[in-house]
Structure formats: C-alpha cells, structure tokens
C-alpha cells in the first residue's frame, strides 16, 4: 500500500470515529411529528378599540413566550411570519391539546358592574394562583396591583349588596354579590375544573393578549403516534439499507463491498451533520434519508460502469480505475446539482415537515458525493494496489 493511501484510510477512519462520537453525544432534534407536540399559526385581528399593528403583534408574541415558559416546554420555537402572524412550534410538549388552548386564548379578564361598566381588567392583577374556594370548588385567587386595588376598593364600596360580574373573553364566569369592601385580594369562581383554574391562573400571570389571535392552522400530535412512526421508520431504514447493500454486493462484487462500506460512512456523516447543524428530523426527513441511501450508491454505480467501460476499451485495471473516477466526476456533479436545486426550492417553499425533508435530502446529496467519490476510491485503491492484475476479474469487465 502506498503511504498516501494509508494516510487517507486513517483519515477516513478518524472521520468515522468523530461522527460516531457526535451522534452518540449530541441528541437528535426530533420534529413534532416524531416527538408529538403542536404547531400553530396565529393571526392577529383588529378589534374596535385596538389595531393589530406592529406593536400589538410584538407584544402578543411576548405574551405567548411567557405562556409557553409557564407550560415548561424545553425548546419552543416562536417566530413571526409576515406582518400579522405568529407561528408557535412546541415539540415534545406533554399535553399538546392543552398547550394549544392555553396559547391561543386571548384571556381578557374583565370585572363589570351591574350597568356593564368595566371596573378593572386582567392587567390590574399582580399575581394569580389556582386553588379552591370555601366550598372546595376550583377557584383562582388573585392579588391586585396598587392601582388595581384602588379601582377595586372604590367599586366594591359603591356596589355593596349588588353583583359584580367577571367575564373571560366576553364569557360570564360568575357574578358574586359584593358583601364588603375589598382592597387588594380576591377570588374568581365558576371556572369549571381544577385544570381550567390552573390554566386560567397561568394565563393571568402571563398577561392577556393585546389583540385577539385567530388560529389559522394547527397541528396536534400525541407523542405515542410519534414513537410509532420512529419505530416503523427504523424497520424501514434497516430493511431498505440492507436490500441496497445486498444488491451492490451481488452486482458489483469487490467494488460493491467498497461501495457498501462507503455507504456506512455516508450514514455516519449524514447523521452527525444533522446533529451538528441541529436540524429538525421529521418523518418525511427520515423518508428522505432512506431514499438518499438508494440514491447515494448512484454515484458509485456510475463510476463502476465507467471503470468497466474503460477496461473494455483496453485499459489495465489501475488506469481504468483512475480514468473511471476522473471521467465520471462531471456527470455526477451535474446530476447532483440539479437535485440540489430541487432540495433548495423545497427548503425555501416548504413548511414544517417538508422543510425537514429538504434538509436531509440536500445533506444526503452532498455527503453521498463525498463518500462515493473520495471514500470509495481510497478503499478500492487500498485493496487493488496490493495486486492489480489479480483483482482485475473482480471488476466484472
């Protein structure tokens, strides 16, 4: 073996080790179709009093961020899209349906007197906690800011013996009759369940949305379904890759083995790259990976056919290998760049899961060019250089 080839082999082995460590150490960032979770597209709507302008949408986004924090989601993605839209992606949230309800709700709390005049709103609250009232019914206990306390004191003084109604998003929760003057504390009943009390207190702590948000699109997926998809994809990946490996072995024999090894290296590189760039792996993304295994050997097929052709043309094995790799390069490059163009278009125009597919497809193409051209060549050279004449017949010319 030439020492150059030896060093290249060492380099490839080192690359594999690094990739393996990366895959082992860095967690894979799974999309919500694999982990379960929710994705929402919300659009701010003008009301009679508030316009859904830049400022209102920005504040709405902040409120959503606070609510998501309260839900305890590890890595939420909350971003704006266009002028009036906010996209919320919560992968791995335990109860996606509940998260959806909590986030999209305006949570405009209003206290009104008998005439319907607004006494104070949720923004006068300093703190809110879930609990129960003296009869054990679910309730939200609240504390008021100093300004809110002034308003409430005045209102309760004026309305003794009469009801004050509490509305959440224009929906009546309860109408307790004022018994005495209240200053800075109170409770809201008529909430329904303890879970709802918890959600309401959480929304009150995070604040109300400045403008109502319409839910234009939502996806909610239970984690169990995601786990099933992962299990099924693993089976498909093993069987798909296994069939490709066997096919290459059966058709191309010795170089086929090298292509199979290169395919293994390819798998390591793609998975490590996905982990490093922190790409979100989605179900179509995994499909893209499995598909790319089939496509990854394409470059090798082109090269091996070229080598056969060169040998039929009278070249000896060593020269045919060099010519095969060199001449096949232009063809491989052209055919892969066009696939990259479609992957790029998919990335720009796709959303969610489709974008994940574009990422794995694009990464797969680049990685497969490297392994098929560089890795396979080093492996073949390493074996063949030991005795070129002996190995010639294994190339099937």
């Amino acid at each position: 073996m030439r020492s150059g080839t030896l060093w290249k082999l060492v380099g490839i082995a080192a690359l594999c080790v690094v990739c393996a460590v990366v895959i082992y150490k860095l967690p894979m960032n799974l999309g919500l179709d694999l982990r379960g979770g929710t994705r929402m597209v919300l659009e701010a709507r003008d009301t009679d009093t508030v316009k859904a302008d830049e400022d209102a949408v920005a504040r709405a986004k902040e409120v959503i961020e606070r609510r998501v924090n309260q839900l305890g989601v590890s890595e939420p993605a909350i971003y704006r899209q266009g002028a009036k839209r906010i996209v919320v992606e919560l992968a791995g949230v335990k109860d996606p349906q509940r998260a959806r309800e909590v986030i999209g709700r305006t949570a405009q709390l209003e206290f009104r007197d008998e005439q319907g005049n607004v006494i104070m709103t949720g923004s006068d609250l300093k703190n809110a906690t879930a609990g129960s009232d003296e009869y054990g019914r679910p309730a939200v206990h609240f504390e008021l800011t100093s300004e809110g306390a002034k308003k409430f004191e005045k209102a309760t003084r004026e309305n003794i013996g009469r009801p004050i109604s509490i509305y959440l998003d224009q929906e009546l929760l309860s109408s307790p009759v004022v018994q005495s003057v209240i200053r800075d504390k109170g409770q809201i009943t008529g909430i329904g369940s303890m879970d709802k009390a918890k959600d309401l207190s959480m929304m009150l702590r995070a604040g109300a949305l400045p403008v109502p948000l319409d839910l234009l699109h939502s996806e909610v997926l239970e984690p169990t379904l995601g786990q099933e998809s992962i299990d099924q994809s693993k089976v498909a990946a093993v069987i798909g890759a296994g069939l490709v490996v066997l096919f290459m072995l059966a058709v191309y024999r010795l170089p086929g083995i090298m292509a199979d090894i290169a395919l293994g290296v390819y798998g390591l590189i793609v998975l490590a790259a996905l982990a490093v760039i922190h790409a979100v792996l989605t179900l179509p993304g995994i499909a893209g990976l499995i598909l790319s295994v089939g496509m990854a050997v394409d470059a090798n097929v082109i090269i091996f056919e070229r080598i056969k052709e060169e040998m039929r043309g009278g070249k000896r094995l060593r020269a045919a290998i060099d010519a095969g790799f060199t001449r096949a390069f232009g063809c491989i490059l052209d055919s892969n760049v066009t696939t990259l163009i479609t992957a790029a278009v998919l990335y720009v125009y796709g959303t969610g899961a489709v974008r994940g597919f574009a990422v794995t497809l694009g990464l797969g193409i680049v990685a497969s060019m490297f392994t098929a051209i560089v890795v396979t060549r080093v492996l073949i050279t390493a074996v063949v250089d030991r005795n070129p004449e002996r190995y010639a017949r294994y190339f099937g010319a």
């Binding site: 939502s218 069987i239 089939g294 496509m295 097929v301 497809l361």
Partner: protein, 313 residues
C-alpha cells in the same frame, strides 16, 4: 436494441399516458388533503377495530345533525384501531367544541376513543400552501432549465424539463385515478421525483455530449442510441437500488408515509422511463429539425448568391 428507431412509438405511448393523466385530472380531480382545502383532520384511536361505516353512521346521527357531517371522509388505518376523519363544517374547520361533541358521540355509540392527531386548517392557509407548492414545482423546473442550459445547451434543458413535466403529470394522474390524498408530503415527493428524474436524464445527456466530441462517421440517431445503451445498465441499477429503499418505506414505514412512498414509486418508474425513452428522442428530433432547417437556409442562400453549379462545401 434500437430505442431511437422506435422513438415515435415511445413518444406515442407517453403521449397517451399524459393524455390519460390529463383526462383523469380534469374528470376526477385530485383528492386534496386538508392542508390544501382547509378543514379538520382527526386521527382517532379506538380500543377495538372499527369500520368506516360505523364511524360514518355515528357522525351523521341526529346528535350531530346540525354540523352536517355527511361529506366527512372516514378512513380506517390498516393494521391499527385508528380511523382518520376529514371534515368541514360550513366550509370551515371544526371548532374545539365541535370536536368535543364528535368525540363524545363516538364514545357513546362505539366505545372509548382518543384523539391522537388533529389538524385544523383555515381555507386561507390552504390556498397559500397550494400556491407555494405550485410555485415550488415551477421554480424547480426553471432552476433546472437554467443550470442545464449553462452546463449543456438549451435544447438539452428543454428536453429534460419536458420529460419532467411528463413525470409530474403521470404521478398526478395516477393519484387522481387512485383517489389517493394529495398533501404537503406529496408535493415533497413530486419535487424529489423531479430531482431524481433529471439526474437520470443528465447522465444520458452527458454521454451524448461525450460521444458527440468523439464522433466518427455514425449518424446522429446511431450516436444517440449508442449513448442510451451505454448508460442503460447504470440507469437500471440506480432505479433498482432507489426502488428497493422506497419499497421498504412503502411496506414498513407506517401508514403516514405510505402515500408519499407510492408517489415516489410511480414517479421513479415514470422518471426512468422518460429519461431513457423520452428525453433523448425529444432532443434528437429538435436537433434534426434544426439541422434540416439550417441546411435548407444554406441551400436557399447559396442558390440566391450563385446561380449555376453548387459550390462544393
């Protein structure tokens, strides 16, 4: 094997397939998923196997009469106790309350049930998504035309894109005939097919280009035919390895990915066929037509300039 000699036959076969696809598309239309039409999609898990009929009957029962769920599409998911429902109420997705009512009626009539996946899409978003999908397909065609024009020549580019249009139409037509759902992953599949099929075509064009450089005394037809045959093993081996992977996805990848895989299978076969039998013949026809026109022009020009015996050239 003389593929080029029979090129008119292959072009006719493709013409018929494309015509059938267009008719199917116009007559049956595509079964668009909720991500394009707007509406609700629910995947429900029961504790025992259920039939579509049972669920449909529950949905159209008197308790839910006001929601008018007659047009709801109910599809049991094979190998599971799951059922997928696609529905709209007055052209809009179901509200949370409406979903709650559906679940309680199903629980009461069929048995315990839980929602494991739900999607709701307002029509606005659906139309946007559809526009984006169409733009994406068109953009990828334009991108490929530009790249191939730069690397090869315009005639190759147009021929390869015509082959892509052919592949795309056949996949769409097949989905219209089979009534399978067309959703966002389907668009991803179509774009993958576009990327894949162009890949195949370019390998053949690359060979034609190379043979043109080394050209001896053969005719253009012979040269094109030779190029196709020289790349045939490669074309077949590549589609076989890719199909092996995609079939694994189709049979083992789970239900969510089945339609996606089916689109890929149809597209890969169509793509390989068009690369071998359609793209090169189109290029050849064009090139020969252009050559004939040039010769006529030269002949006409030389007649105009020099009456009398033609100059040897």
């Amino acid at each position: 094997m003389n593929i080029i000699g029979k090129r008119r036959l292959f072009l006719a076969i493709s013409g018929i397939l494309v015509a059938c696809s267009l008719i199917a598309l116009l007559a049956r239309g595509l079964n668009l998923g909720v991500d394009f039409t707007g509406g609700s999609l629910l995947r429900l898990r029961f504790e025992r196997p259920v039939t579509a009929l049972e669920v449909s009957q529950a949905l159209t029962s008197s308790e839910l009469a006001d929601m008018e769920l007659r047009d709801a599409v109910v599809q049991p998911i094979s190998g599971t106790n799951d059922v997928q429902i696609r529905a709209q109420v007055a052209g809009r997705p179901l509200s949370d309350d409406q979903v709650g009512r559906v679940v309680s009626v199903l629980t009461q009539k069929i048995g315990k049930v839980s929602i494991i996946e739900s999607q709701m899409v307002e029509g606005v978003i659906g139309r946007e998504l559809l526009n984006r999908a169409l733009t994406a397909v068109l953009l990828s065609w334009i991108g490929i035309i530009i790249y191939v024009s730069v690397r090869f020549e315009l005639k190759f580019a147009v021929a390869s894109v015509l082959a892509l249009v052919h592949d795309t139409l056949i996949v769409l037509g097949a989905f219209a005939i089979l009534g399978r759902q067309v959703n966002s992953p389907f668009i991803a599949a179509v774009l993958t097919i576009i990327g894949y099929s162009i890949n195949d075509t370019i390998v053949i064009f690359d060979k034609i280009r190379e043979n043109l450089r080394l050209r001896k005394k053969e005719t253009l037809e012979e040269l094109t035919n030779k190029s196709i045959l020289q790349t045939m093993t490669r074309s077949l081996n590549t589609v076989i390895t890719t199909l092996l992977a995609v079939f694994a996805l189709y049979f083992f990848g789970g239900d969510t990915i089945k339609d996606f895989s089916l689109a890929l299978i149809i597209g890969l076969v169509a793509g390989t066929y068009s690369s071998i039998f359609i793209a090169s013949p189109i290029w050849l026809e064009w090139r020969m037509w252009e050559r004939a026109r040039q010769q006529r022009r030269i002949a006409a020009a030389s007649r105009a300039k020099q009456p009398g015996p033609a100059k040897a050239r």
